[in-house]
């Protein structure tokens, strides 16, 4: 089920990328598109907000949620810096070679 869902997501992105790469979209149309994109994003976030608002567990645990968010984001950032550090010498070398 989850594999199907991921395949669907990738397929949708690729169809979008294919249409975007075809380059037949006029400037006016892409302007409209980015507005549509922004409005639909806001609508989705509004719906997500409703989903949070109707859920008593989330509302009651707002303080806990903030703490969780800070811990998770700090750990994510720290570990990804360390991970890049492990390969940065190797990647930098290839960048100099290609000059």
């Amino acid at each position: 089920m989850i594999e199907l869902r991921i395949l669907l997501y990738i397929a949708i992105i690729f169809i979008g990328a294919w249409i975007g790469a075809a380059g037949k979209l006029s400037g006016k149309f892409t302007d409209k598109l980015s507005k549509l994109q922004y409005v639909s994003l806001l609508f989705m976030l509004f719906v997500m907000g409703i989903n949070i608002g109707v859920n008593d567990d989330v509302i009651n645990g707002f303080y806990k949620l903030g703490l969780q968010a800070i811990v998770l984001s700090v750990f994510s950032i720290a570990f990804s810096i360390i991970a890049v550090r492990l390969v940065s010498g190797f990647v930098q070398r290839s960048r100099k070679d290609s000059k």
Partner: protein
């Protein structure tokens, strides 16, 4: 993270915060209970639309493959390592605060793209979606604050790491401002690769 529009970053962030806040208020006080069963369907439908728009944005950057070639394929290691570090770091943090591995891993796999990761996860549970949203907003915020210091004291490539998927848009000016044009190109490529990984890794991690 978001892409496409020419609005200023502050305008867009204000709109995003306002949309979520008004949604929460509507959910608390106005939203009729009998409509709750349709929320999942609306989220699914909207998600497909958002991914389609993301695809169009990526397709319009046709020269990305040439950019990767000119930098050497080794630079793809940067987004791969950031993805691994973000997920492992989030799992480690989740272990401390007592979150299940699948939830903390999925939240970390948002790579700072708070809108998409939160919307995908709010299908799973409203609470996880909420944590994903706030965590990834925090990540973008902390990234923007940390980038100058990391570039100065640790390294240029390392300064891309905190930005995650936002390395291609909101964090790109911050990174290119304190590094050089080559790092800015790597940053953009990293952001694109990580953005593509979000809709794959978030559902994959939550299904563990």
């Amino acid at each position: 993270m978001y892409s496409g529009a020419e609005r200023t970053v502050n305008d867009m962030n204000a709109g995003i915060i306002a949309a979520v806040a008004s949604g929460i208020i509507a959910g608390l006080f106005l939203f009729p209970q009998y409509l709750v069963q349709y929320i999942g369907f609306i989220i699914d439908l909207g998600l497909c639309a958002l991914l389609f728009f993301v695809g169009i944005d990526i397709g319009r950057n046709k020269d990305i493959i040439n950019q990767i070639k000119s930098c050497g394929f080794r630079i793809l290691l940067i987004p791969v390592m950031i993805a691994m570090g973000s997920i492992l770091g989030s799992i480690a943090g989740g272990f401390i605060i007592g979150l299940p591995v699948n939830e903390s891993g999925a939240i970390g796999a948002g790579f700072g793209w708070y809108s998409l990761s939160a919307i995908i996860l709010s299908d799973y549970s409203a609470e996880t979606g909420a944590v994903a949203f706030v965590t990834n907003v925090c990540r973008e915020l902390f990234a923007l604050m940390a980038i100058p210091f990391i570039a100065k004291y640790i390294g240029k490539l390392e300064s891309i790491a905190p930005a995650g998927a936002t390395a291609m848009d909101t964090a790109l000016p911050a990174i290119s401002g304190v590094t050089d044009s080559r790092t800015a190109v790597v940053s953009f490529i990293t952001g694109v690769v990580l953005s593509l990984l979000v809709p794959i890794m978030v559902p994959l991690m939550i299904s563990l």
